[in-house]
Symmetry: C2
Subunit: 341 residues, 2 copies
């Protein structure tokens, strides 16, 4: 790779080696009443949950802000274990977090399905169990771009994780057992489908490399978290046509029935404007209503970003009544997912 | 201007003439329990405030989402009157909103200082008063890029408006009189200073025109809401150096004393990543603490965007104790400014 000069990375940063450290410091300063650094690269609640309740922990690389640490807070995550930019945290750090949250009630470890994260989580859990730590993994795999019959291993975890954090977090706050919290989260996880679309790539903030080159005037449906191709390239489509194609694909997976309650989130991944996201949301919402769905929760936000990539993820989930309650009626005081309930 | 083809505008949109209509429809669908369209281009609360309380209304062009309509909700705005992309709504529409919120308690009309918005507001208020509507204008002018001694007319209203909405909205919810609500908002408004920095321009989503060409490798401190130049161009600086220069300028205006309470918001205007915004926040927070300030509220968010422009606004405000309470301890249920209090 060619040497990268600082001006090639046109970003407001300092030493590229310190990105993760500095962004986490900035985050816990900005929201000092809600979050803190429990250890290096481990973000925890400022006011911990009672230890007789199940703890919810997650892990993943930095560079996707506000994910994942933005969802640490009362009613959601107890801890987020952060890797370097686009990189999984190592198993030792995950283990460190599991030790911090050791409790009889147990820990739910929510893992987005990406090879490095899964490997770190599995190894950490194995070591944790040897030390008598009670922990259960919930693997999210909402991406449907690998195809409807793809093995779970091939279905990546995208921004749908945020609903699992919220539902499981609220259930844990109510004092439910680890098995119950897992069941609630996993039932939602299974009923969720996400599809990503990208229009313009981004640069890696440490080495300036362009990730997933996309020619001008071309969009791709089915991109992964970092812009890995996964679906079809096409010329740019209108917002309505894009939404239509995506809802059609998502519904092949979900098979929504009349009267079913659903969530619909549009996750902006970076440079795509809120204006566009709202316009896309409009059509997706209309199409879901035409399918007979009742939209119990809508959100348009930057949930899990990929630097300054242009595009978005469309997330649809079928909700049972308990999920509706947990998602919309319970308080979450996480800085980037605040629900007064 | 050259003819614009659809592919020149690489955005997820439909007919460029329908942007505002469609984005507002998407918005009120996504947050249907909180907001609704009271009339064309007028966003109101789904559950209106009691009519014996002061109403808070604002106005401004679209294209800056989530501003301004994202701040309509319990504890914040009662209505947002929306113009077309980057354009003020006309006086007739503002008048229509004032008529909708006519009440003995009165209306506070918060206007960001931009010529078109001010003209529309003044004309609407003149007509409203003839019809016996009690209304008072609060003009925000937090931008300091025109210089410290600039006349108020030359100081634009930037994203600092959101704090005025929150403080005035909370005061109105408590049942304070129009004069009291105005005084609380205006006292905060006077003690607020904002500086913008841009690194990359954006395209107008209707005609594809580039707004404020900025050469690669150049940044400009003191850009206006739409990228109008107002300050100095410089080669790209590090996040820390950028924050240092900005805090120095902002403090020339604010002259922060030891022990004073302040708010610090970093508003991402579009393509600049949350990662960068958090890194910039970190240094600004540290510098304010070195000045002896106590940071009573921090936020890092896309508050008022300018399409896919790269850059941010740094907002610092000196807070009296009542402002701290109103900003941080009172509930706001606006979709894009949720505070459980």
């Amino acid at each position: 790779m060619a040497e990268v000069t600082e001006t090639q990375i046109a970003k407001f940063i300092n030493d590229p080696n310190n990105l993760t450290k500095e962004l986490l410091e900035g985050y816990v300063m900005a929201y000092k009443d809600k979050v803190a650094l429990g250890a290096e690269n481990i973000v925890v609640r400022k006011n911990p949950k009672d230890t007789d309740k199940v703890a919810i922990v997650t892990l993943g690389g930095a560079g996707h802000e506000p994910a994942l640490s933005g969802f640490v807070g009362e009613g959601m995550l107890d801890a987020s274990v952060v890797g370097d930019i686009f990189a999984a945290p190592g198993a030792p750090r995950v283990l460190e977090a599991l030790k911090m949250f050791k409790r009889d009630a147990g820990i739910l470890l929510v893992v987005l399905n990406h090879a490095g994260d899964v490997m770190a989580a599995n190894m950490a859990v194995k070591l944790a169990e040897r030390e008598g730590i009670k922990v259960k993994i919930l693997l999210t795999h909402d991406d449907i771009s690998a195809g409807l019959d793809a093995a779970i291993d091939d279905r990546r975890g995208l921004a749908g994780c945020v609903a699992v954090y919220k539902a499981a977090g609220a259930a844990a706050e109510e004092g439910k057992s680890l098995d119950e919290v897992y069941e609630i989260g996993e039932r939602l996880n299974k009923n969720m489908a996400t599809l990503a679309v990208a229009m313009k790539s981004c640069t890696h903030p440490q080495n300036g490399a362009t990730i997933a080159e996309l020619p001008d005037g071309i969009m791709e449906i089915g991109m992964g978290q970092h812009g890995e191709g996964g679906g079809g390239r096409t010329e740019l489509l209108s917002a309505d046509e894009t939404a239509s194609r995506m809802i059609e694909q998502l519904n092949k997976k979900l098979n929504i029935q009349k009267g079913e309650k659903v969530l619909l989130y549009i996750n902006g991944v970076g440079a795509t404007t809120h204006m566009e996201l709202l316009i896309v949301y409009r059509k997706a919402h209309q199409l879901l209503e035409e399918l007979g769905a009742e939209i119990a929760e809508g959100k348009v936000a930057e949930i899990l970003t990929v630097q300054e990539m242009a595009g978005f993820q469309m997330i649809v989930g079928k909700l049972d009544q308990d999920h509706v309650e947990l998602l919309t009626k319970r308080k979450s005081d996480a800085p980037y997912w605040t629900v007064c309930g």
